[in-house]
């Protein structure tokens, strides 16, 4: 029997069958040829373009848009992919509104930037059938890349392209990292993350070994004896705790796990979701979890963040997206207790204010009904095998060199840079170039 949005508890099938298809369809569908030409026409081909500067992978955006405008989208794709091998995924998940499109001069001029992200998708989609790069002659060098997320994939590809033999390890049963497990479903439809990984690996020279992680089957000492260099792109395996009473009650879950389960589900209607869902946190993960809980049919979803909107990690676009899907955003409220008999029934918050000594509780509090609580308050580094740590992450130099010679790191696990897919790709690429220079120079 089918459930409804009002069915109590955590149940599947809250919506009619066809609603799932609609709710989880492509957030920004591919531009058709005409739309792409119209959008490309708007680019001014700026000198030393601000968009290019704002891109962590420094894609030559004016050039690729001009290549689209002149009828050569495959050339445009190469311009993108030479800088960012995961240009396809970045076109889908990049917060362009805070990167390239934010600084577009047409945003300055008219408040309406060139649709760079969608044009990037238009271009990259044209080369997903066949891999466009070839490997250099074999160097005889071997590199271990630990973590098959954006940083590891980017590093592995660049190293393979330079002729090195790469072994790519990942803890999960599937490669892709957050692209595969951690991004809202409507940003990567039709199994794109997995297809992109297959396409990337088809350059050759990359052997994938799954189910192994640092500290769980892999040790740096041992890796360094077997390989000429090691790159770590292990991400953040741990999850922060709320540190409030009742956190151990049933149905208080990590948002990353909720998203991961959703991404791997064959049939979205079979996924159970609460009637009253509360998401705690203010970043992209919080928004992805809250929006998807709503799209799965939760009657009400609240996203509660302890500081003001301006401090939220999620961009204004993401916040608006959440609001437009019916998510209620509550700010300046910190969880103090989770109530319920066995399972969560209510969650209590203290109102906060930005005081002289940081965040202070105002003394007022309120409760929200909740049969499911999703925690999205940040992630932490797992086993770092004794590498030097800086601010909770593996300490690295500009090209990803760690405190240990012969070991590089990049992506979310490494210090510096925003925790974005595109930043991870840049760091993986740059570390790979440094590894290449080091291996070949020596």
């Amino acid at each position: 029997m089918s459930n409804s949005q009002q069915t109590p508890g955590i149940v599947p099938n809250r919506l009619p069958e066809e609603a799932y298809q609609d709710n989880f369809s492509d957030l920004h569908p591919r531009l058709d040829d005409h739309e792409a030409l119209v959008a490309a026409d708007r680019c001014y081909f700026c000198h030393d373009a601000p968009c290019m500067e704002a891109c962590p992978t420094t894609i030559d955006i004016p050039l690729f848009i001009r290549q689209i405008a002149t009828g050569t989208p495959k050339a445009a794709a190469l311009t993108i992919l030479e800088q960012n091998i995961l240009g396809g995924m970045c076109a889908r998940v990049c917060p362009t509104e805070t990167l390239c499109e934010e600084v577009c001069v047409r945003e300055t001029a008219e408040g309406n930037p060139v649709e760079i992200g969608r044009l990037q998708r238009y271009a990259t989609d044209t080369v997903m059938e066949a891999h466009p790069f070839a490997r250099a002659d074999a160097t005889g060098k071997t590199v271990a890349v630990v973590g098959a997320g954006p940083a590891g994939l980017s590093a592995a590809h660049r190293l393979a392209m330079h002729g090195h033999d790469v072994v790519l390890y990942d803890a999960r049963a599937k490669a892709g990292g957050l692209n595969e497990f951690g991004i809202a479903s409507y940003k990567s439809v039709d199994n794109f993350a997995a297809r992109e990984v297959d396409w990337l690996l088809s350059i050759g020279g990359i052997e994938v070994k799954l189910g192994q992680a640092l500290g769980n089957g892999l040790q740096l000492d041992e890796l360094q004896t077997r390989y000429d260099a090691v790159f770590l792109g292990v991400g953040l395996a741990g999850v922060n705790a709320l540190r409030c009473d009742g956190e151990d009650k049933d149905n208080v879950l990590d948002a990353v796990e909720f998203i991961s389960d959703l991404r791997q589900a064959e049939d979205l209607s079979s996924l159970p979701v609460g009637r009253h869902v509360v998401v705690i946190g203010g970043g992209m993960t919080a928004v992805d979890a809250a929006v998807q809980a709503k799209l799965l049919g939760a009657e009400d979803v609240s996203l509660v963040y302890r500081r003001g909107r301006d401090r939220m990690g999620a961009s204004e676009f993401e916040q608006d997206l959440a609001s437009s899907k019916g998510v209620r955003i509550i700010t300046h409220a910190a969880p103090t207790a989770i109530h319920g008999n066995g399972a969560v029934a209510e969650i209590e918050f203290a109102y906060t204010t930005d005081g002289a000594n940081g965040l202070e509780e105002t003394g007022e509090s309120f409760r929200l009904r909740a049969d499911q609580v999703l925690k999205a308050i940040g992630q932490t580094l797992g086993d770092a095998n004794g590498l030097e740590i800086d601010g909770g992450k593996i300490k690295v130099g500009e090209t990803g060199r760690t405190s240990r010679s012969g070991v590089w790191a990049g992506g979310d696990c490494a210090s510096g840079g925003d925790d974005l897919t595109v930043t991870a790709v840049a760091e993986g690429r740059d570390a790979a170039e440094d590894i290449h220079a080091t291996l070949m120079g020596g």
Binding site: Y44, C46, P50, A109
Partner: protein
């Protein structure tokens, strides 16, 4: 609202906007729609002599050049004169003129270069009640191969001879339409005048190949794998047409002959510009073929508003007002100094001015680390390229240095207004009269 009434060679029309001889004026149906939309007059598409009409190609007849957003900038055609029987056209002209007595109906003609065919067709045209004739000496394709069209227009003696026949055999006002496919427009214009023409109209279309099909390796429009040059028109040809109009208007041997201006007139402003250079009215084709007959409504309202603003009571008031300002280069004031100025409030920081100046001109624009663009007065030659490439109209302007100011580039003090120096007084001119030469400290 200013009165747009126009009198050209004694032919009255409610406004100076006529449709040129072309496909839009080939049939009664089209011409009636044009008059209903508000056009002041038409030049009926060229009639040939009685008998089997010409045959047009049945593949594409037009090629095009597009600007941003697929805006049609230039159109080329390989259509011939009317391919409908002479008697059908004559009947239709008669009916239309009878129903629209206040509109100008001119008949374009092209028959073989012999006196008798001209005599015959003129007699038949007179019976229609048409207001005048236009001699098509311009059509550059097809008909020229048969000794007509531009084959006549390129030989001044033929122009004069045929014009004389027309004046001898008809009382109708005679307009000679000139081809631009010659080295100097003054020769044909003088010949028309010598032959007794009442007016000239110009320009006809320009020999052109608009594109090449790179798969078939054939020019386009492509007819069964082959192409031929066509006649080019539209906004792209306006500068060429305006120069030719101005040359005729300002040259003492041709000055005074009434001119009907043709070539890329798309807006009221284009019409005002042609008329300011000496055309008494304008003829339009491509704008109507691109947007439909309704465009004339903007031309009417725009010209009317502008005339009101300038205090012109009649369209004759501003004809030729700019003609005396058209001069030879040698008469330009070489001591007139301007410098580019960038309005920082309007600047959107695209940097196109910088790229243009730095790469292709005089390195006269400074770019700061934070993308502030400023003009270096000591390098700026006032070429205006930055103004032309800036996407924001009015953002970069040219400031004229007042007498007494110093040109930082040359060190010269700008002389008094009445002390100007042209090339004829310049010491660097080897042909200048040494007694006339004015040397400035620079």
């Amino acid at each position: 609202m200013a009165d747009l009434h126009s009198t050209f060679l004694g032919i009255e029309s409610p406004n100076p906007f006529w449709l040129a001889s072309a496909p839009p004026t080939d049939k009664e149906y089209n011409v009636r729609r044009a008059f209903e939309a508000g056009w002041g007059g038409v030049v009926w598409k060229t009639l040939g002599e009685a008998g089997p009409p010409v045959v047009n190609v049945n593949g594409p007849r037009y090629g095009a050049i597009h600007g941003a957003d697929r805006r049609l900038l230039g159109l080329n055609n390989i259509e011939l004169i009317t391919d409908r029987p002479l008697e059908v056209n004559l009947e239709e002209i008669t009916r239309v003129k009878k129903d629209y007595p206040d509109r100008a109906v001119i008949v374009s003609l092209m028959v073989p270069c012999e006196e008798e065919p001209w005599r015959k067709i003129l007699r038949e045209v007179e019976l229609t009640g048409a207001d005048g004739v236009e001699l098509n000496f311009g059509c550059p394709h097809g008909m020229a191969e048969r000794g007509m069209g531009s084959a006549v227009g390129q030989v001044p003696e033929y122009i004069q001879m045929v014009t004389e026949w027309v004046k001898k055999h008809s009382h109708l006002p005679c307009i000679v339409k000139l081809t631009p496919n010659i080295t100097n427009i003054l020769g044909p214009a003088q010949a028309a005048k010598a032959g007794g023409a009442d007016a000239v109209s110009l320009i006809n279309t320009i020999n052109s190949i608009t594109s090449v099909n790179l798969d078939m390796m054939s020019p386009e429009p492509m007819i069964d794998g082959m192409g031929t040059h066509g006649g080019y028109c539209g906004p792209a040809v306006k500068p060429i047409a305006m120069n030719m109009v101005a040359e005729i208007a300002r040259n003492e041997k041709t000055a005074g002959i009434p001119i009907s201006g043709i070539g890329g007139v798309t807006t009221w402003r284009d019409a005002a510009e042609f008329m300011a250079l000496g055309a008494s009215n304008v003829q339009v084709c491509t704008a109507a073929m691109t947007y439909g007959f309704k465009v004339v409504q903007e031309m009417i309202s725009g010209l009317s508003q502008w005339m009101d603003e300038k205090g012109h009571a009649s369209t004759a008031d501003f004809v030729g007002l700019a003609t005396p300002k058209v001069t030879d280069w040698q008469h330009l004031n070489l001591d007139h100094i301007t410098k580019a100025e960038i309005n920082q409030d309007d600047c959107i920081k695209c940097g196109r001015c910088y790229a243009a100046c730095e790469d292709t001109s005089h390195q006269a624009i400074e770019m700061s680390e934070d993308r502030i663009f400023t003009v270096k007065d000591d390098e700026c030659v006032a070429c205006n390229l930055c103004v032309n490439v800036c996407p924001v109209e009015g953002c970069i302007t040219m400031r004229t240095l007042a007498p007494g100011e110093v040109d930082e580039r040359t060190g010269m003090v700008v002389p008094a207004v009445d002390d100007k120096r042209t090339w004829l007084q310049h010491p660097n001119n080897p042909s200048a009269d040494p007694n006339m030469c004015i040397v400035r400290g620079q």
